[in-house]
């Protein structure tokens, strides 16, 4: 199952919660669609959201949940 997972940046619509509340919500959002989905980072300033390892099915489930704006596949930048 792990090998089917890819990394995604998840943008959320939460703006009124405290950081602690947001972070808890991010964790529970992933847990609600996946027993083994892993949150990589919870962001506090650069975006409202988090990054996680998800399967394509989990992406579909998460994308349909209230408060989720977009689930964007990881991209790779390169030093120039």
């Amino acid at each position: 199952a792990f090998s089917e997972r890819s990394s995604y940046v998840v943008h959320t619509a939460v703006t009124t919660m405290t950081s602690a509340e947001k972070f808890k919500w991010y964790e529970s959002s992933v847990k609600s669609i996946s027993a083994s989905g892993e949150v990589l980072y919870k962001y506090n300033h650069a975006i409202n959201g988090f990054s996680a390892r998800l399967t394509p099915e989990e992406v579909e489930l998460l994308s349909g949940k209230p408060g989720i704006l977009a689930v964007v596949p990881e991209v790779v930048y390169k030093l120039e």
Partner: protein, 631 residues
């Protein structure tokens, strides 16, 4: 870096009057998102530095071969982000990289020292480019955010985490020498994170990419980013190639250790024919610019190498480390040497190496590899914003890779970007009240469009005059940027209006800005109204013949009367400015003006035209580049 401070007008003497503007730069923190740092480098010594700024909230994270005690009053913070990289690529091999802020590639050490390295006397790489090495802002503080790992790859979740932490730590400047082109803003973590940082008051500079000279190859094109292209220095490492038939050709030396070649003429063989190489000079085709020439043919070391370009006939040749005495030549000369080697029964040659030469004209030239506009995401925003030195740049290096040297010479828009980041730190120190957009405006409107021979900047890829699609506003000119006279400022609301004008949905706008904002359907948003210090006009065939752009300038130089001068290179365009005179009575006064581009809409698709709009009060010259494209 050696030479670039002087080349840009800042001078080499860190103790002298040339850094009079730099008095409070020690309060400015430059965050660098890159491959880590080699803290033992002399470029990060903190001799003479006072306590870290009280605004600093960051840390020196410990890890493999990196303890917190390696940070000091110069390198005030170092963190690393690899959850995303390891999740995608698997655990890092700890014999190849350090699970810590320590740099195993050299890139981050190089770029951070370019931005804000301390002064180091007698710096050189294998004897080349010798001098005092210093960053653009040698008194500023450095914070390294390692988010790029083996192969120079940086995944977006790690980059976003680095930006997030840099904002929390309170950096003032962010320098990102990494890129990926053709990403829409709502899919681009650099663009999204940089907008949040900009709204937080952080100036963000980013490399424009090394995919030139292909058109529309630029990356990092969002209007809140300062996009940096690369130019050459007035420094060369020349070599002379002498053939057995008496012909003499100029080339460029690669960087090697030890003596040159013996005095006598040597046999020269063509690598393509796979002949023996021992005791010979080998001629090899250089098909692609990759910044790393191949070494050691057929498993045997030749006495010397001549790399002959096959791709473009530019004169710009990038120096890199070589194991044996080597030179590079352009395509035209390469063809002559190839012809000689193929047709002569016993061809011979030698190479004379002439060390480091300063004062080469013309310079700067736009580097052939520097990515080009037009902007592929928003053609109405001219990119790159400006160029800075990015060819054959000497800066600090690591102790574990490549040649055993404290410094190394590298090329790329990665090297140009931190020049601008460091200069932004100087401007932030001198004008702490300036917004990130004001700092960029000051650099753009005072940038130089001519080279050191007084003629327009040339493009290495063509040998012809460069255009704003290659050099933007021109080469950064830091001393002029301290007193720009007028600035074009921008706020977060301006960027929201820009996104409305770009037809982003409310949901996309919320992703990019984190703000709940609905575009007013009754309002006509126009990208042409974004208060940008340059003009890009996209003309639709068969469309109307007049395009109006509005701008607001703020006086930062106090009272003055500015008159406008318009330059345009083709008769198919008439550019008028209303009003043509702007009066300012006090500092911070704002005045608006409109530019009307009246064009012949039936010009062939793909036609470009360039020009400029210059405001002057006799003391300041406030110049904006103009690019028109018929689609």
């Amino acid at each position: 870096t050696t030479r670039t401070p002087t080349f840009l007008g800042l001078g080499d003497n860190v103790d002298g009057e040339d850094l009079r503007h730099n008095g409070s730069a020690s309060d400015v923190i430059v965050g660098v998102i890159d491959s880590g740092i080699w803290p033992e480098s002399k470029s990060f010594n903190d001799i003479g530095f006072g306590p870290v700024p009280i605004s600093w909230k960051g840390e020196c994270e410990e890890g493999m071969n990196f303890t917190a005690s390696l940070c000091n009053r110069k390198l005030i913070g170092a963190r690393f982000f690899l959850k995303g990289f390891e999740a995608e690529m698997g655990p890092i091999n700890q014999s190849d990289d350090f699970r810590s802020p320590r740099d195993s590639l050299g890139h981050g050490t190089h770029t951070s020292s370019i931005a804000a390295g301390s002064a180091v006397k007698e710096a050189a790489f294998l004897g080349y480019a010798a001098g005092v090495a210093r960053g653009m802002a040698p008194l500023a503080r450095i914070a390294m955010y390692k988010a790029c790992w083996l192969g120079g790859f940086c995944v977006s979740s790690d980059v976003l985490a680095a930006i997030d932490k840099a904002m929390e730590d309170n950096v003032n400047i962010l320098s990102l020498s990494l890129a990926l082109n053709r990403l829409d803003y709502d899919k681009d973590s650099i663009a999204i994170g940089a907008l949040a940082a900009t709204e937080h008051g952080v100036f963000v500079a980013a490399a424009g990419g090394n995919d030139g000279p292909t058109s529309s190859s630029l990356a990092n094109v969002a209007p809140w980013l300062t996009t940096v292209g690369a130019g050459t220095l007035d420094r060369k490492f020349p070599a002379t190639i002498i053939l057995g038939n008496g012909k003499v050709f100029p080339g460029e030396s690669l960087l090697f250790q030890g003596n040159g070649l013996p005095d006598e003429m040597l046999p020269i063989v063509y690598h393509r024919f796979g002949k023996e190489v021992e005791g010979s000079i080998v001629l090899d085709d250089l098909r692609f610019y990759d910044n790393e020439v191949r070494q050691s043919k057929n498993g045997k070391e030749p006495l010397g190498m001549i790399y002959a370009n096959m791709v473009f006939d530019g004169t710009e040749l990038v120096a890199t480390y070589a194991q044996s005495p080597s030179a590079v030549v352009g395509k035209e000369i390469g063809d002559e040497i190839r012809h000689y080697v193929i047709t002569e029964s016993n061809p011979t040659a030698t190479i004379k190496f002439n060390g480091t030469v300063i004062g080469y004209k013309p310079s700067p030239m736009v580097a052939g590899f520097s990515s080009r506009g037009p902007n592929s995401i928003t053609p109405e925003i001219l990119k790159p914003d400006l160029i800075a030195p990015g060819v054959n740049i000497l800066a600090a290096w690591i102790g574990v890779k490549g040649p055993d040297s404290e410094f190394n010479i590298k090329s790329g828009t990665s090297m140009a970007c931190p020049h601008v980041s460091g200069i932004a730190a100087l401007l932030k120190a001198a004008h702490p009240e300036w917004s990130p957009a004001a700092i960029r405006s000051a650099m753009m409107t005072t940038a130089k469009t001519s080279s050191n021979d007084g003629k327009p900047i040339l493009d290495s890829a063509t040998g012809k005059p460069s255009t704003p699609f290659a050099h933007g506003a021109g080469q950064v000119s830091p001393v002029s940027a301290f007193k720009p006279g007028l600035i074009y400022d921008l706020t977060a609301m301006d960027y929201l209006h820009f996104l409305c004008a770009s037809n982003y949905t409310s949901s996309q706008i919320k992703i990019i800005t984190r703000i709940e904002f609905s575009c007013d359907r009754s309002k006509e948003y126009r990208i042409s109204e974004l208060n940008y210090p340059s003009f890009a006009v996209t003309i639709n065939r068969g469309g109307g013949g007049a395009y109006t752009y509005t701008r607001i300038v703020t006086s930062v130089g106090g009272a003055g009367t500015y008159t406008v001068k318009v330059m345009s290179d083709v008769k198919a365009v008439n550019i008028s400015v209303e009003p043509a005179v702007l009066d300012f009575n006090n500092v911070n006064e704002k005045r608006s003006y409109s530019v009307i581009f009246t064009v012949n809409p039936s010009m062939p698709s793909g036609t470009n035209s360039f020009g400029s709009i210059e405001w002057s009060d006799g003391k300041h010259l406030v110049r904006s580049p103009v690019a028109l494209t018929w689609t």
